[in-house]
Symmetry: D2
Subunit: 359 residues, 4 copies
């Protein structure tokens, strides 16, 4: 296990899907930051399933409690402990554990790695693990906003083959994003995405998508070459989110086809500082922020849990047809939006403190 | 600076492009591993520029020396120090330092971050920094081959708009890759890539590309959820390489458009072990290797140094036309092949030791 | 803040004396370890104040809950979260905060460091912080006992000027230690220690002491030169316990006066393995365990909270007479015994896993 | 192996006693620090054997080279690589390796841990390993002096049973310390120490000693509770030095016998800041510096290498008489002075940067 993330702004998450609860310890949060449970709850609510007919209908009320590190509404500089009780905490009896590893789930790999696995719900590989990330990310965002005016906004830019257009990374805000339950601010595309998700659900299937994210007002100088470059840290953060398969920053994979003369971002004066006329770099050069918006995209695969019967094998290799029960999310990307924002905030808060340590 | 990578198999690189030399300390390499300078030199030679007319023509003879950690041809379990002297080690006089930050280079961001920068050659953001990675990666590969029979092979799968086809990740070897200087094993595509590079060079411009990589014989169970998942660690490793803009594993960005019923990898018996019939997961599930080949792709932008004049601004914001002198690589991806392999080996060696620590 | 300890067996503690609760996340505990709340409670009970008339009389019932990481009585290999609710969790109103930093407490230094401090009870510098350590240490001990038969026993070897004699580190057990409330197995010395504590209490004062500790059955080969040597790791662990002022291993400070010919531990065959005839080294050579018992001692100062009036200054520097209220521990060393054992167990568990990673 | 030390000011040492060379990479040194090889050489010269008739007579000329990280006399903020070639770099042929593990050396434990060991000279457990520490420590001292006016002075306060008196930690300087080759500023005691060393040498034996150290001008607020407390970090640093057996800070082991009313350091105004009237705390409270001088002592055992014949056993357990050849240091503490200073500087530089990161 490696459930810690960050060097100076450092989080450690815990909790399986069916144990008493999930949470996070945030070590290194600066002191004297105004922080309440409400500051954290708002992002947990955005992450919760059951917010619309598009996603799963379970009613998870995730109330966060601050167990340590805050007094009279201010952080003490000591570790914060944030906790969310699980509602259905009873793990299944281990005798009832399935003999069939679910395809493209982590049943098989956890069993191979640990010689044991949680008896139900995916345990630590469940999406429920992200509760701690989102809670900690809300704290990181509070620090970034209060100390650096940093703004982080993510949105759904693709569901299956439907891609959003016309989203301006310089102006997009969370209100716009949340206007539509699919969390795509291009309303025409959003409608097509909703239809795609509806059809996928009817087919008892699932579909992938892309979350785009912009971080504005990041000052030049954040990012620690050579292994904790801004883009390397973001890539690690994003690929640690369940169901992700890809990451690109700035021009990304499309930049491969460009010539350097078109790709290079020329310097110009902007609002009294040296900026760049274009931003194919996505706000980073040599692993360090350059003062332009940081822009990246994260690819999510179709979730592995589907209602359709699947031909597969049990742990002994015997062929078997697997049919999942219950209701499942046909598409996770709308709920992934606050998770992507949280991981971005955690990366930035840590790099901000690390740059701040330089005298 | 953050020049260390890995938890148990841990490297620390050092050196700018024009200081006395570059190198790496490898801490945590297992003892009693047969290791010679020749084992390391082979990959350094593959990384060196000037190997063909396609890349730059400078003649860098990078001879590695093992300064510590090996005796009588065996590692002692103590830190290895690997060193390569720079041939042109004299830094420019700081009075001669350019007033113009090169577009999409790290001149501006290093200056903003550190308040100082190397006077010539890009310093630590130079491609020369990767010498240490490749040297350490060769050691990691030796360990992985000797102890686990792991095979790592990378190749060029795209240059600009030219994409390779028909490369079988199960069988591709380094000899095949090196047969053509462009390091693309699809010879028809290789010819077109060479032509693209030639035309780009004539235009005094540069072009991007994609490096694909497969890691075979990785046993099930490697990767440390939740933040050091296999894919998260690989993503970080690859995005820390200069000029990278994207990473994808398995189905990657294309997987977004698939439905779960098609994307899920069903289990089947294979050679007496439980394997998967397809490999859209790219060899990982829940962040842990599943015994199938690990397959990923890395996007490289067109290099920033080009011969064509560029309109930009100097540090004061005054408009200026910049013209680079000297000869430059129009396309780095052929040389990036051993760098991608090295970073993959470093990730795998560390995760192997970490899984091995579990009793 | 730096509330994490360990590389592979890694703990993160949280909680102030008057927040909702205190606890610890244990990341890296091996899977399939039999573990119950009772396994942990036993050491928490030994650490609790109010166990005898000798120590403070508050009745802290510290019931531990396992919030995550265990199912059906077995660890899952995922992070364990251990939690103990505080009984008197209401922090004081910040307006009531004292203007007087208590001498030799951390009021002044926390205020200087963080610009804020917990309004009562010492916050994170309180002895209450050690609850998480003891809980995690009990898990580490379970692993060490089950996998390596390691035994760890600490005892009080000095209170003020009274020193224990005749304790055999090869045979001493916890039952013997707990027979007397002062936790000194030399009963004559224990009686004198009790009398010293009684007199100190009558004088509304406090007194220091020494805790000795032995770790038996530690195999040769644990300890990671050069900076995580066994003795360096133990020294850090012990000096991180509140109120400690010194650490010595083997011959310690007394060894300074010995000649090498007397201090050197000659090798001899013992039970079929190469051992040493004497153990001035304290079970370590070159930072690595040699198979002999590891033996060390920890010095505790007299606790800073005393009932007697003290002449000091307030935060503005104005002279003031300070009188503490309430009942206080005149001597912490009996309660420190399980804390020393816990920290030793955490060091050994981590070094065991790190050595186990070596193929 | 764990050859790295520090979180933000982080060093990684390498090198055995008989490989090509020893050295250190310093990652995280602040940029724009004036630094030359001479700044480092001065402490390496103080560490070198052969400075007087009291210590060994080998003539090791340790010339340091800065291989990376400095340009035009200023640090770049990138990793510094500091290197010292070994003069007698030829390791012995492995067939010549002794069958007899030297008593209280690390021959046996390295062999047990790694299954291999350096064929001569103690390899990584040799005192030669400290060259890298001293070089890196000189850089840390330069940073501490330039940015914080911190002064670090260590001296020999005991050799065998001879103890120094009358040394004023507030005033003692390195010049005074170096006036006598034994590095004890109490000249009467120094003479007795020299005589003790002379007699020990005549007896072909060795003797232990104590090094005391003071760090002045450390501002209040350094030290990271709860596991990287100032005293915990110093203890780890000191116990990682070869041949150390104990550490105490402030009142140390003697404080055990004091009552709280005498031990507590009352606050008083001093030079316009809140200070303490006494300093039994040794400059730290709750793990954080309080602005008073940090004062600690380190116990060194008699070195294991002695000329006298010793009865011991070979690796098979067969009894054997061992006689060391060559000339050896009868007492290491004079040479340990700059090593203690170096480790103190490394601890302080790291904690300074970590506190500086707090906004």
């Amino acid at each position: 296990m490696s459930s810690s993330f960050g060097t100076l702004f450092r989080i450690t998450t815990f909790g399986e899907s069916h144990c008493p609860g999930v949470g996070v310890v945030v070590d290194g949060c600066p002191p004297r930051l105004a922080l309440s449970e409400a500051d954290i709850q708002v992002q947990l609510d955005r992450r919760r399933p059951g917010q619309s007919r598009l996603t799963t209908e379970r009613d998870e009320k995730d109330r966060v409690r601050i167990l340590a590190g805050v007094e009279n509404g201010l952080t003490l500089g000591t570790p914060l402990a944030l906790y969310v009780a699980n509602r259905d905490m009873k793990p299944a009896d281990y005798r009832a554990m399935s003999d069939v590893p679910r395809p493209s789930h982590a049943d098989f790999t956890y069993q191979e790695k640990y010689g044991i696995r949680a008896s139900s719900g995916g345990g630590r590989s469940s999406a429920r693990e992200t509760v701690g990330r989102v809670a900690a990310g809300a704290v990181a965002e509070k620090f970034l906003a209060d100390h650096h005016r940093v703004e982080i906004v993510a949105w759904v830019s693709a569901v299956g083959a439907v891609e959003a257009g016309g989203v301006d990374p310089l102006r997009i805000g969370r209100e716009q994003v949340d206007r539509d339950p699919v969390r795509c601010p291009d309303s025409a595309a959003a409608a097509k995405m909703a239809e795609t998700i509806r059809l996928t659900k009817e087919a008892a299937d699932s579909i992938g998508g892309i979350v785009s994210c912009v971080c504005r007002n990041v000052p030049a100088g954040w990012g620690e070459p050579v292994f904790d470059k801004m883009e390397a840290s973001l890539a690690r953060a994003m690929l640690s989110i369940p169901a992700t398969k890809g990451f690109e920053i700035g021009s990304g994979f499309a930049g491969v086809r460009m010539r350097g003369s078109a790709h290079n971002d020329p310097f110009v004066m902007k609002d009294g500082r040296l900026g760049t006329a274009t931003n194919h770099s996505g706000g980073v050069q040599g692993g360090i922020s350059n003062g332009e918006p940081i822009f990246f995209r994260v690819a999510f695969k179709p979730v592995a849990t589907i209602g359709r019967p699947q031909q597969t094998a049990d742990f002994t290799g015997a062929p078997v047809t697997l049919e999942a029960k219950g209701r499942h999310d046909p598409c996770v990307v709308p709920r992934a939006v606050p998770i992507v924002e949280a991981m971005a905030a955690l990366v930035l808060a840590d790099l901000a403190l690390r740059q701040g340590a330089r005298p």
